[in-house]
């Protein structure tokens, strides 16, 4: 999909609007903010639901602790701040206060990946999936676009598990079929194909759609990263024998490693490749897609990897 010609929608607004609507019917729904209210688009929520908007200031450990305590008292808590700070700064608090205590706090990690653009290395969170998927009891999600964000938010609001959801900063292409729902632990085949299984999560996956190649790609949206829909993945890989995992995240600790292990354990024969950030820090760029070009995550790179997989 060509981003420039797509209908671009904001995942952040989609999440904020959905949460605002959910709060109407759920008097227990609370938002904990860590000093980034405008950026996490919670102005409207904060104004309308004053007593349910808890601002802790730039203090992510306290944010996670307060969120855990609120959840312990029976509140439905969404912790909203940048992923580079939560879980970037407060991993130990998430691990103990939230996960070990098995409290269903929903951690919303804004500004995932290189897509964060001009804010550069400090703000482009490239390690969140590695951190979050390694925590026992934590469930991990990353919507494909704004449409899926809406569906996912509604489902996660009812979840009884510690939860992490990754959002991205810029508007991204509308892609998720409206007829699709969202179910925890279920992946969706965005485009069926027979030659190469292409797996990924978040807007970067839309780059693999409509590539105008002779080969046929089966594109699977793994927005439920944990629990992972192993059955659908293995079924596709069995059919194609080739697998490409695409993620706007460090390759080390990323989902690709999990998929590789899954395929190896299954005994299936499969040619495997990965797209991701290779042991590097990000950098500033006004156009985030320029970062995809520089770091090897662009459409051109995806095509090159598919061609590599197709070679005998």
């Amino acid at each position: 999909m060509n981003w420039k010609n797509s209908n671009l929608l904001s995942m952040r607004s989609a999440f904020a609007d959905t949460l605002f609507d959910l709060a109407k019917n759920d008097p227990n729904l609370y938002v904990v903010s860590a000093g980034l209210r405008p950026s996490v688009m919670m102005d409207k929520f904060a104004t309308r639901y004053k007593t349910r908007f808890i601002e802790v200031g730039v203090a992510e450990n306290n944010a996670a602790g307060v969120a855990a305590g609120l959840a312990k008292s029976g509140k439905n808590v969404f912790l909203c701040t940048y992923a580079c700070f939560s879980p970037g700064i407060n991993l130990a608090t998430i691990k103990q206060s939230i996960c070990e205590n098995h409290l269903p706090v929903k951690i919303i990690g804004y500004h995932g990946g290189l897509l964060t653009g001009e804010l550069g290395a400090s703000h482009q969170m490239l390690e969140d999936i590695a951190l979050m998927r390694s925590l026992p009891t934590m469930e991990v999600f990353a919507p494909l676009d704004a449409i899926e964000t809406v569906k996912m938010t509604k489902v996660l609001a009812k979840s009884n598990s510690p939860t992490y959801m990754r959002l991205v900063r810029p508007d991204s292409p509308e892609c998720y079929p409206h007829s699709f729902g969202f179910t925890i632990g279920q992946s969706r085949i965005i485009m069926p194909g027979s030659d190469v299984t292409v797996l990924g999560y978040g807007p970067i996956l839309t780059q693999a759609i409509n590539l105008n190649l002779k080969t046929s790609q089966e594109i699977i949206n793994l927005s439920s990263l944990k629990p992972l829909d192993e059955k659908t993945i293995l079924k596709s890989v069995k059919k194609t024998g080739r697998c490409l995992v695409i993620e706007d995240h460090q390759i080390m600790g990323g989902l690709g490693e999990g998929i590789a292990a899954l395929i190896l354990k299954s005994g299936l024969k499969c040619k495997f490749a990965q797209i991701g950030v290779d042991n590097q820090f990000g950098k500033s760029s006004i156009d985030p897609l320029d970062l995809y070009r520089i770091y090897g995550l662009s459409t051109t790179d995806i095509i090159a990897k598919i061609n590599y997989l197709m070679k005998k």
Partner: protein
Amino acid sequence: MKSWGRPVHPLTSIARELRLTVFEMINSAKSGHLGGSFSALDIMTALYFANTFNFDRDHFVLSPGHLSAPLYAILAKTGKIPESILSTFSQIDSILESHSSHKVPGVEFSSGSLGQGLSFAAGLALGDKDHHTVCLTTDGEHDEGQIWEAIMFANKYHQGNLINIVDYNGLQIGGATSDIMPLDELAAKYIRFGWTVQTIDGHNFYALPKALKVAKNSTIYPACIIAKTTMSRGISFMENDYHYHDVKKLPPEIYQKAKNELEK
């Protein structure tokens, strides 16, 4: 353990019994945090047996999870868990984790990583304004920045239903808190951060319940009780010695000598 010039307080005998129980728990596990357990034990005894709070409704958050043994002993004494499992402390098939675990009935917060309890307590107090949330922290734990984040938060939200008791024994695992990271004027700091503060003798059963009552009656301000304590309180030759922060297997003669003192 006589309180100065006054008759022995009824809580003293409960504390004496609990100290013996905790001592046996730690000794049979061949591992445990004796020093802090004994410095905080009288505070916890007052909390659970002075009738100021009812922890079926009010909340107790033990921030230093390594002080789990006295809490488990209290929960056994109050009938939340069977006394028979106390001897399984820290063992592989036991629910009595070395650092306090919420899987134990009556424990509200799994802990062990220091500095997190006060944030959790603040969140709990905010979510349940009809009851009190009492947090126990240690002086050494105040090295953690998160504690100060929570202190500011409680002030901002006027958390009159939040109480933080600081077990101030002046020592931590590697030495004196005044050497490792001085807390100078902790009471003044709390006051400047918008809390009410009482400084008391954390082993005095006349002072403890009174302070708890005063703290409970604070409706607008979060209340801090700085309880000055003695590490390893009750075993004279271990008192105020940071080497007893945690103990492994005690030599039989040390075990007996300590036990004799606790049974006095």
